[in-house]
């Protein structure tokens, strides 16, 4: 029920709606709860509303512990 689907904003309409691309499927989404989102941003969408901009730097990195573990230290925090 609390599913949130990430999508990329492809265009903005003056009505506060945005066209969002979800891996090839395009849907109209309300930006009422996330008005700062811009074209090119990734947003988390729930029941037709963008509820948060996804942090691009955090999104690129799979996990915070990624480097720590792959380097084999695993000890630091």
């Amino acid at each position: 029920m609390c599913l949130g689907i990430p999508g990329k904003i492809v265009s903005l309409a003056p009505t506060g709606l945005a066209a969002v691309d979800f891996s090839g499927v395009r849907r109209e989404v309300s930006l009422m709860l996330c008005p700062e989102a811009r074209v090119g941003d990734y947003v988390l969408v729930h029941v037709g509303f963008a509820i948060q901009r996804l942090d691009p730097e955090e999104a690129l990195e799979t996990l915070k512990l990624f480097d720590e573990f792959l380097e084999g230290s695993g000890e630091s925090s």
Binding site: M1, I51, L54, K64, L65, F69, L70
Partner: protein, 362 residues
């Protein structure tokens, strides 16, 4: 997908599993309080590979499952009125009320529409000016800002035939009720990712500060869940209890402040009844006085009437993490996803439905 990335993820998953097993002296009981986590944990096989290290139990984390029969009865009563079109999320259609379900009512001729966004209900109201459109709204904090924004939008459009039957619930008061009851032993909470997108970290601090139980706000990919479990076990090992954020690509410490403001402009907390948990103080949301004209419960004089759970159904214990679905005498026999008796079997994110689909039938 980049094949190198996939290889790295596999390596990372193995490493996380190894670390988790190394940290667990004895199986720790971790509760996930989000139905999406329940499904992700089953689907990814995490439960079965970690049986010796962690005991994963599900809590009251699905808004559909915690909707009591009395609320369904109220929606059914409205849907039986000639002038009403009832709009609701699809998950609610098969939830049993005390004598019927919305699906059954629709089959018998009631005008009930399944919608994907609350805004669809306003559109239905605009397209049917001679009908009364009632949006039967369930949801946790993830959904409530969208419902609040919809109420404001209906008001802005001067949509006089739009009403709301609010059955929204808040997660932190349920966690407090669960912990205060003292019936279930929990070593750590895998906290819900998308509820936390809205509310942030602060509303959970009491879990660590007052009850000494750590919590980690966790994402929904298998690696997110493994990292969340790892972070919980590390806290336990170091003798700490804090609330940490694993799902930092979506959850900010302060949450979505604007979304909370909109929620606060439209709704006010009120005592509410949960399936399985009973009445919990200030755990529901009702419309503020300014929006009272849109309140379906007032407009149609429909007070909440409590209704009992179906006989023999253990949903109540299952939702509190006290029993597992296979402990229920109805599980897999009288109660199946095709013909559910209890709400936990209805919702695809319900604990019983997840056990039925992924956990095997005893």
């Amino acid at each position: 997908m980049n094949p190198h990335k996939r290889h790295d993820e596999e390596k990372l998953a193995s490493r996380l599993l190894q670390e988790i097993k190394g940290l667990a002296d004895h199986p720790l009981r971790l509760m996930e309080v989000c139905g999406t986590h329940t499904i992700a944990i089953f689907r990814s096989g995490i439960r079965s590979v970690l049986t010796d290290a962690v005991d994963l139990i599900s809590g009251p984390g699905c808004p559909v499952c915690v909707t009591p029969a009395g609320e369904i009865d109220r929606a059914i009563a409205l849907s039986r009125r000639q002038e009403v079109i009832l709009a609701t999320f699809g998950d609610l259609m098969r939830v049993p009320g005390s004598s019927s379900s919305l699906q059954q009512e629709r089959a018998e001729g009631s005008a009930i529409r399944v919608i994907l966004s609350p805004l669809d209900a306003v559109q239905i109201a605009q397209e049917n000016p001679d009908r009364t459109v009632v949006f039967f709204a369930v949801g946790f904090e993830t959904t409530s800002p969208a419902i609040a924004a919809t109420v404001k939008e209906a008001q802005r459009q001067g949509c006089a035939n739009f009403y709301l039957l609010s059955c929204q619930r808040l997660v932190p008061p349920a966690l407090r009720a669960l912990l205060s009851a003292g019936k279930v032993n929990i070593d750590g909470f895998i906290l819900p990712g998308h509820v936390s997108v809205i509310i942030g970290k602060a509303p959970y601090l009491f879990v660590a500060d007052e009850f000494g139980i750590p919590g980690v706000i966790t994402g929904f990919e298998p690696l997110d869940i493994l990292e969340g479990i790892y972070m919980l076990l590390r806290q336990k090992k170091e003798g700490r209890a804090g609330i940490e954020i694993q799902y930092s690509r979506a959850v900010k410490e302060e949450g979505n402040q604007l979304a909370r403001e909109i929620m606060g402009e439209v709704f006010v907390p009120a005592d509410a009844c949960w399936r399985g948990l009973g009445w919990i103080s200030q755990s529901g949301l009702i419309l503020r006085e300014e929006f009272a004209a849109m309140d379906a419960a007032r407009a149609f004089d429909l007070p909440y009437v409590e209704a009992s759970d179906p006989q023999g159904c253990l949903c109540s214990e299952v939702l509190q993490g006290l029993r597992r679905p296979p402990d229920c005498p109805l599980f897999g026999t009288r109660c199946t996803p095709v013909e559910p008796v209890g709400a936990c079997m209805v919702s695809s994110e319900g604990n019983c439905a997840a056990y039925y689909k992924y956990g095997g039938i005893p």
